[in-house]
């Protein structure tokens, strides 16, 4: 257990950086947005990992529970709202990409910069 005690955080770090890589290295704008989604998901995972208590259960009270241990509700609240905000902002980003495609005829970053330079 000691060995795997930090595994969730390692996965968080790797996912975060996979998302980051997609944002900095990929030229396609939709792919960059997918990278942002992965980055978001990694942060969600970090918060939810921190909320877990060993032997705990979801923080919803139930009749007949004997001395229950609950996981931390606070990070769950923050992430619950963040997921819906995340999809709304992703939609906003996609809207911008669609408009860029209509104005420039491309969604590849280099080509957009080249058109701008002209």
């Amino acid at each position: 257990m000691e060995l795997l005690g930090l595994y969730h955080y390692w996965v968080f770090a790797v996912l975060l950086m996979i998302g980051f890589y997609a944002v900095v290295a990929k030229v396609n704008l939709v792919k960059k947005l997918i990278g942002v989604s992965l980055f978001q998901a990694a942060v969600f995972l970090l918060y939810i990992t921190m909320s877990k208590v060993t032997g705990g259960t979801a923080p919803i009270l139930q009749e007949g529970m004997v001395d229950p241990v609950f996981s931390n509700p606070l990070p769950q609240v923050l992430i619950l709202t963040a997921i819906v905000v995340g999809i709304s902002t992703t939609a906003l980003g996609l809207g911008i990409v669609v408009r860029i495609k209509e104005e420039y005829g491309t969604i590849e970053e280099h080509e957009i910069q080249e058109i701008d330079r002209r």
């Binding site: 795997l4 005690g5 930090l6 969730h8 955080y9 996965v11 770090a13 790797v14 996912l15 975060l16 996979i18 890589y21 997609a22 900095v24 290295a25 990929k26 030229v27 396609n28 939709v30 990278g35 989604s37 992965l38 998901a41 969600f44 995972l45 939810i48 921190m50 877990k52 208590v53 060993t54 032997g55 705990g56 979801a58 923080p59 919803i60 009270l61 241990v69 509700p73 606070l74 769950q76 923050l78 619950l80 709202t81 963040a82 997921i83 819906v84 905000v85 999809i87 709304s88 902002t89 992703t90 939609a91 996609l94 809207g95 990409v97 669609v98 408009r99 495609k101 590849e108 280099h110």
Partner: protein
């Protein structure tokens, strides 16, 4: 044992993420993003976050796929230019990963009850929820009452994003080739079986959405999840019956009204607290009995959240679909 399942699922998650970034076919990336969403919802569930998993289910399974595919239909399906500065990016990303990994060694171990996050306010929430608010779902209590300010802010962010998308995508639409609408408008009219099944499912999803909305005090659920589920029901209807019929059933003006009145309802409940002689978003004064007041306040603000989220997500969907036709 469940922890081991979680670790297995996390490994699959990383593999999926790598594949998403690797592939140059954006359609494949969106499909893999669907799997990613399923996996992360399972992880949330294993980590005891039932409410969060339900939100991810409601948003990730239907709406996010639909939005990404809508955007792909309007742009292009393939990445033509792959990667820029591959080695530089790899060096930067790898070193950043190492820094973050180094930082994780200062973290308390997974599931440690003595971790700092569990010491400060969370025990107070868990202890006082039965006393002050008296609903079983502590997450809803914290979301609606204890941290009502946060949620109000999030609702307005969602609202603003919705306005932003409508603003961006309504620019000179309704233009040139409306005549093609019959041919290229969405709707799977010629696929009889999916159409019948889709129509069959719509009322059940709506019913389930309402159940999630109003059962949110007692089990996993609440306005955010319900809003996404109800929006998903209408999106399903639009997919099988076409845009026009959906807009006839629930016109855009109604959606606008839903968006605005949801946000106003939330703010109004907050102001009612001030008018009745307490502070903003204090529901205790809404009724003679403070606990009944809290119940009433939470139901009202959850309804507001649900209305805004439904309105925003459906408006976004319609904005993308209308672009598709023009």
């Amino acid at each position: 044992m469940t922890v081991l399942f979680g670790i297995f699922l996390l490994t699959l998650l990383v593999i999926t993420a790598v594949a998403i970034v690797q592939t140059r076919n954006l359609f494949v990336a969106v499909m893999l993003l669907g799997i990613f969403s399923l996996l992360i919802a399972l992880n949330f569930f294993i980590l005891d976050a039932a409410d969060v998993a339900l939100t991810e289910a409601a948003v990730g399974a239907g709406i996010s796929t639909v939005l990404f595919l809508g955007a792909l239909a309007l742009t292009s399906e393939r990445e033509r230019l792959g990667t820029q500065h591959r080695w530089l990016s790899l060096v930067v990303v790898t070193s950043a990963t190492l820094v973050v990994l180094y930082a994780t060694f200062d973290k308390p171990l997974f599931g440690d009850p003595g971790a700092p996050v569990h010491q400060h306010v969370a025990p107070w929430y868990l202890e006082k929820t039965p006393e002050y608010i008296d609903i079983p779902n502590v997450v809803t209590a914290v979301l609606g009452s204890f941290r009502g300010y946060d949620t109000l802010g999030e609702v307005f962010v969602v609202f603003t994003a919705g306005i932003g998308v409508m603003f961006l995508l309504s620019a000179h639409s309704g233009g040139a080739n409306r005549r093609k609408q019959e041919a290229s408008g969405i709707g799977l009219r010629e696929h009889l079986i999916p159409r019948v099944v889709g129509r069959l499912l719509v009322p059940f999803i709506l019913l389930f959405g309402l159940y999630v909305q109003f059962h949110g005090d007692y089990g996993p659920g609440g306005g955010f999840q319900a809003g996404a589920l109800i929006a998903a029901a209408f999106i399903l209807y639009a997919l099988v019956e076409g845009e026009e019929r959906t807009l006839a059933a629930l016109p855009q003006s109604w959606l606008n009204a839903l968006m605005v009145s949801g946000a106003l309802l939330y703010g109004g409940v907050g102001l009612a607290g001030i008018v009745l002689g307490s502070s903003f978003l204090d529901y205790s004064v809404l009724s003679a009995d403070p606990i009944a007041g809290q119940h009433l306040g939470i139901i009202l603000i959850e309804a507001g959240v649900g209305m805004t989220v439904t309105g925003v997500l459906l408006s976004i969907f319609h904005a993308f679909a209308a672009r598709d036709q023009a």
